[in-house]
Symmetry: C2
Subunit: 486 residues, 2 copies
């Protein structure tokens, strides 16, 4: 008989020692995050390093860690740096990272099986979120890998609930009316991806123009719904944005809720980052109506600052979500009560989700929320909003800079301007300024296009940023702009 092996460490003590070293290194790394460039190229030899074939034999863990230190650690995307504000990326928390280690160590599958603790942790988080967003205690929800997944789950429930026939069985083929979903032109691309995946097709997605606050134009929305009905389409859902990617605009959610109520449409809110303005006493008024949504999707790895990846979603009526996803083959039989691992009183998350196995990502959220308390998260979100206004003031005070959109939340779009330069030249100039900011490791905004103009895009969800970081940003944009023009 062969000797029985396993994948535990060959030497527990040396692995333990390595773990302690990693931990010390990471603490030093995180403490020193401000001292490093926000970003630097992974050079060619680093990229080439990842071209080697799969290793047949074992390699000492210490060596693998050295490889990590040499080829991975120096070339991160940079979002934990205080001057990273691009693409709406989150900062992460130290305690959350420790929680991820604990979760991976106990390696719990949170997806099903009652009577173990992990599902109760996830359920508690969902309960907390219901309370924060004014959803009823009877609502349902799950944690997800992010808001794309959360939007997909919500829109699947919307589709199945509002189609008006057994769509799980029959599919969309048998429908006679085109199902239609409404959102503003500024809606996030994940909504379009979901609509496509769900088999509705982008022709089923009406992109409604926005007003000068970049909010969905309610009049056009209403007339489009009416037009669709008269054309024999079946409107099923309106997607409200609680914080658009481009400008942070929040749609008039109360009015959208009213329209949905009147028109018998599903009201979904994509609150990827902006939903968290709910924690700011000053800003939460902008979200009025979010509590009326039929479903809500949001991230926790953006403006709740948690390590990747974690998002969540809620559905007002629990049975709508369960009816969309629950499936119980014999090997997943559960919920009959009684004893054993499949008894118990807690529904399985797999009855509400696309996925079956699920990691224990709940733990990092639970740890971090308890560590700081939700009031402090509220202060941080307010701080980000105030800092964004501070940046907007700096821009308004600089004749060479121009704001590209109103700053209503935490997103600031601006560009460098220079009299005499035409549209294309200004776009190019600003693209070059952005590249230099990044390449010189100074700061990492991203770029986007607002009303046809290329602009620098600061989506501020960074808990490490100080006002002085925005002083540096503005100073360096001006410096680089001057240099490029000369």
């Amino acid at each position: 008989m062969a000797i029985e092996e396993n994948l535990d460490p060959e030497n527990w003590d040396s692995m333990r020692g390595l773990g302690h070293r990693m931990l010390d290194d990471m603490f030093d790394y995180l403490k020193g995050v401000r001292d490093r460039p926000v970003w630097q190229h992974a050079p060619e030899d680093v990229k080439q390093h990842f071209n080697s074939p799969i290793p047949p034999d074992s390699q000492p863990p210490e060596e693998i860690y050295k490889e990590f230190q040499k080829y991975v650690l120096p070339y991160p995307v940079g979002n934990i740096n205080p001057r990273f504000w691009g693409w709406v990326l989150g900062t992460g928390t130290v305690f959350g990272a420790l929680a991820d280690f604990l979760a991976a160590s106990i390696n719990t599958n949170t997806g099903g099986l009652d009577y173990h603790s992990a599902p109760y942790v996830e359920k508690q988080l969902i309960d907390w979120f219901k309370g924060l967003f004014g959803f009823p205690a009877s609502a349902s929800g799950v944690l997800t890998g992010g808001c794309s997944e959360a939007n997909l789950i919500c829109l699947a429930v919307a589709r199945n609930t509002k189609a008006g026939y057994p769509i799980r069985q029959e599919g969309i083929q048998s429908i006679h009316h085109r199902l239609v979903v409404y959102a503003s032109e500024e809606v996030h691309s994940s909504i379009q991806k979901a609509i496509e995946l769900l088999g509705l097709g982008t022709e089923s997605l009406r992109l409604i123009p926005v007003n000068d606050q970049f909010q969905i134009d309610l009049k056009v929305l209403e007339s489009t719904i009416a037009q669709d009905r008269s054309n024999g389409c079946l409107p099923i859902c309106v997607v409200g944005a609680a914080g658009t990617t481009n400008t942070g605009a929040i749609d008039d959610l109360n009015s959208l809720a009213q329209i949905c109520q009147r028109e018998n449409l599903w009201f979904h809110v994509d609150g990827a980052f902006g939903a968290w303005a709910i924690l700011s006493p000053q800003a939460k008024g902008q979200l009025a109506g979010i509590e009326k949504a039929d479903s809500l999707a949001f991230d926790l790895h953006k403006w709740m600052y948690l390590p990747y990846d974690i998002g969540a979603m809620l559905v007002r009526k629990e049975e709508d979500q369960r009816k969309t996803f629950s499936l119980m083959p014999a090997y997943l039989s559960h919920g009959e009560g009684g004893r054993g691992m499949t008894g118990g009183d807690l529904p399985w998350f797999s009855d509400y989700d696309i996925k079956l196995s699920r990691g224990f990502r709940a733990l990092k959220a639970w740890f971090s929320i308890k560590e700081h308390g939700i009031l402090k998260f509220g202060r941080l979100i307010q701080q980000n909003i105030d800092q964004a206004r501070y940046l907007a003031q700096l821009i308004s005070g600089s004749p060479e800079l121009e704001l590209a959109a109103p700053v209503t939340l935490n997103v600031v779009c601006f560009r460098y301007i220079q009299p005499g330069l035409d549209h294309g030249a200004l776009d190019n100039l600003n693209k070059q300024i952005l590249v230099e900011l990044q390449e010189q490791g100074i700061a990492a905004p991203s770029g986007t296009v607002i009303r046809g103009k290329f602009v620098l895009h600061v989506a501020h969800t960074n808990h490490r940023t100080l006002r002085k970081d925005f002083d540096i940003l503005v100073r360096e944009v001006l410096r680089i702009g001057h240099q490029l023009i000369q």
Copy 2:
């Protein structure tokens, strides 16, 4: 001006000390995993503990960790224990858990942006998998949160590629023929979930009977395809199972590939756990034909033993996957080459996936594969297969036990039998045996139904199991069975 706060530890030194303690505790916990019961109820007070409202104020990290130790740690689902074999859950690796800590600390978003290392790590893994499964280097693929997600991505690509018209734009509404997907009755429920989500409806999923090896019946498959065509349906895809959940059966993949070739159908293989038999020189022959699949989905947190959650998928023709998922709004503009963070030569994973933000789950796979080398993973997989055969021999040698299906891979279905008991009584007896095994903390198989009979289900993907653990299982099943009968 308000004082600027952040979410870093209030006291770095005490947080560091806590981290070291957690690490020591987890190492002790993992070393001692064999000494604890495989599972125990979370008692009522533990469940109630998670009913408290969201904490407004901060709580010392040490206290939160104590809560974790008291309310979470003692009540895991149990899959890291050597005698856990239920529901096809994985064991995890220690080095992988450390990698998850590193990944969460640097908090890299692997989804996009070139010139940072994380995407190269994920790309290297995908390259390795292409090689292992005989896919061309030009194939595409991504890591996922598991195989449900991987199956969904693959079937979305199949649908969009084979529909024969611009389905992303038009949706399924405009189609005149019902699109049909084929799989065996033993196919995993995630395939049905994906079919429903994609808007095809379960009426588009033909569940073909299986032969006495629990493989899809090829004759019935072929006649069903012919019948569907003559009824005006449009067959688009056959799903082959590489390891069914119930019995571990592997469909005749070569024959399925031939049928798909001849019928111009997409050939998808759901290899959730069974695909990894590719690493066993003895078993890999059963997977012949997997290299001909158009797409392949598999988990890494099952039979590759990695911590949750991680799966992967491959698509033979890269452009099929890109055309299904790529979407580039202005705020995600990239790939124009040149300098800055959106230049570079690596496609963004978001162009191939549902999700946009993505964690750095690649790191734990990269660490663990390098730590052990792929040959050792092959030995472990072979060990699991050999141990499953050993269990099957023990069962065959016990007059009170009966195998319920052939053991071709790592899944053993069996039950306790007793002359004179009718069908219902035997089902009940075996359900009770299962509950007692779990409740007494002895072992955790799951239950399923094979050809109408309730059976104990051992899906063996546990790297810590020794043959003697199966001695204990059989001894205890006999003991409990005797007791229950008396």
